[in-house]
């Protein structure tokens, strides 16, 4: 039996540590202690999970329809201009369509990013800042988009 035990580990009895010079204490990083807050956020996580599924199904219809109208039918992408958008938004149907798509897509994407941050951001501070940035951007985009759809003036100069 050949043994290749050329080890980078020194003998345990070596210089090592003693009472005056103890080995560094390793804090268990994933301990669930009494101080760990018990999360009681009700059904928020379930609502978020359900929302992802339901909004995803609706978005398939909304987004594919949107792409079809904007890019393929009736001259395709070349017809898009101010006049085309103004014409479409003259009808409440397309206003509701675009508004719904804006809200669902933004919330769907934001919730997806929220779970990504929860899963991958390790330090609480990083989490806080990333989520702050995410929520700010989401609220800003949704409000701006909603404002534009509702106050759109086709005769703007």
């Amino acid at each position: 039996m050949s043994a290749d035990t050329t080890s980078a580990i020194g003998p345990v009895e070596g210089p090592a540590y003693d009472v005056d010079n103890p080995a560094p204490y390793i804090e268990a990083p994933r301990k669930r202690t009494g101080r760990t807050p018990r999360a009681t956020r009700g059904n928020f996580e379930m609502a978020a999970w359900l929302f992802m599924r339901l909004s995803g199904v609706v978005l398939v219809v909304l987004v594919l329809g949107h792409l079809l109208i904007q890019l393929f039918l009736d001259g395709g992408v070349s017809k898009i201009g101010f006049a085309f958008v103004a014409g479409r938004w003259a009808s409440p149907f397309w206003q509701v369509w675009d508004l719904l798509m804006l809200w669902l897509a933004m919330l769907h994407g934001a919730n997806g990013l929220r779970t990504v941050i929860n899963d991958y951001a390790e330090r609480p501070n990083t989490r806080l800042w990333l989520k702050g940035l995410l929520y700010t951007a989401t609220v800003f985009t949704i409000l701006l988009g909603t404002l534009v759809i509702f106050t759109f003036d086709p005769n703007i100069r």
Binding site: A3, D4, A8, I26, N118
Partner: protein, 252 residues
């Protein structure tokens, strides 16, 4: 007694089934150094033997400081879950011949739990999550004077999740658990499932409420790592989704 004709080659291989296998083991000893090193051991071993036998040979003949957990050594106690060639398995259920012995076999402690020494990790967070789901029968009312009866169909409902041996192979293969370790983890959910769907148990509502937590079943991303890792072949991801469905149908 004369044996029938035996091929010479066959006879030779029967005489010496041993091959030389390199075990590349992730060593860590906090009493010596806070750095982690990979150490290679060459072991003569029968490819029909298991990785655990190789570890035993190393510990008994080459380096007695190698530290790992094992108890029954037959895939029941769930002590020796480790990351072998990058996949969580039980060392006592993994045969050398199934691992490509040409290349070094890497052996690491399971991920996501604090390493105490070599292949030994601190299982406390894992068992804390297990205790949190109350893995025991909860009933109301008087004790029956005879056993609590159950039809074979009712027993079949949660049969799959009774097989869990709490080896932590699933939980420590879960990328969500790797991050902050606050997620309950597949093993705890499997053991909650075992009681939630038990017709004799009346604590299902409490357990569902616990798993409805921020770090409960909703953090599952259905990556199927747990199902792949389970040495008992439990359909863990399916069990987690069944708990999710129970949570939703309970509300609506």
């Amino acid at each position: 007694m004369a044996t029938p004709v035996l091929d010479k080659v066959e006879a030779e291989s029967a005489a010496s089934p041993y091959i030389t296998v390199t075990f590349r083991i992730r060593r860590f000893n906090p009493e010596v150094s806070d750095a982690v090193v990979w150490e290679d051991f060459q072991v003569e071993i029968d490819p029909k033997e298991r990785v655990l036998d190789g570890l035993h040979k190393i510990k008994w003949d080459l380096d007695g400081t190698l530290t790992f957990r094992r108890s029954c050594a037959h895939g029941i106690c769930g002590s020796d879950a480790m990351r072998i060639n990058g996949k969580n398995r039980l060392a006592c259920k993994t045969l050398i011949k199934d691992l490509n012995p040409e290349k070094p076999i890497t052996v690491e402690p399971i991920k996501g739990l604090t390493v105490l020494k070599d292949l030994v990790v601190d299982m406390e967070p894992f068992f804390q999550a297990y205790r949190d789901v109350m893995p025991f029968l909860i009933t109301k009312g008087n004790e029956p004077t005879r056993e609590r009866k159950q039809s074979p169909e009712d027993r079949e409902r949660f049969d799959d999740t009774t097989k869990c041996i709490l080896c932590a192979a699933c939980t420590s293969s879960c990328p969500v658990f790797w991050n902050d370790g606050q997620y309950f983890g597949p093993a705890a959910i499997v053991n909650a499932h075992r009681f939630i769907f038990d017709s004799r148990d009346e604590g299902g509502e409490q357990r569902l409420e616990i798993l409805n937590d921020k770090d409960g079943v909703w953090r599952c991303r259905t990556t199927f790592n747990c199902t792949d890792a389970c040495p008992r072949g439990i359909e863990i991801t399916k069990a987690i989704q069944e708990v999710k469905r129970a949570l939703i149908t309970r509300r609506f």
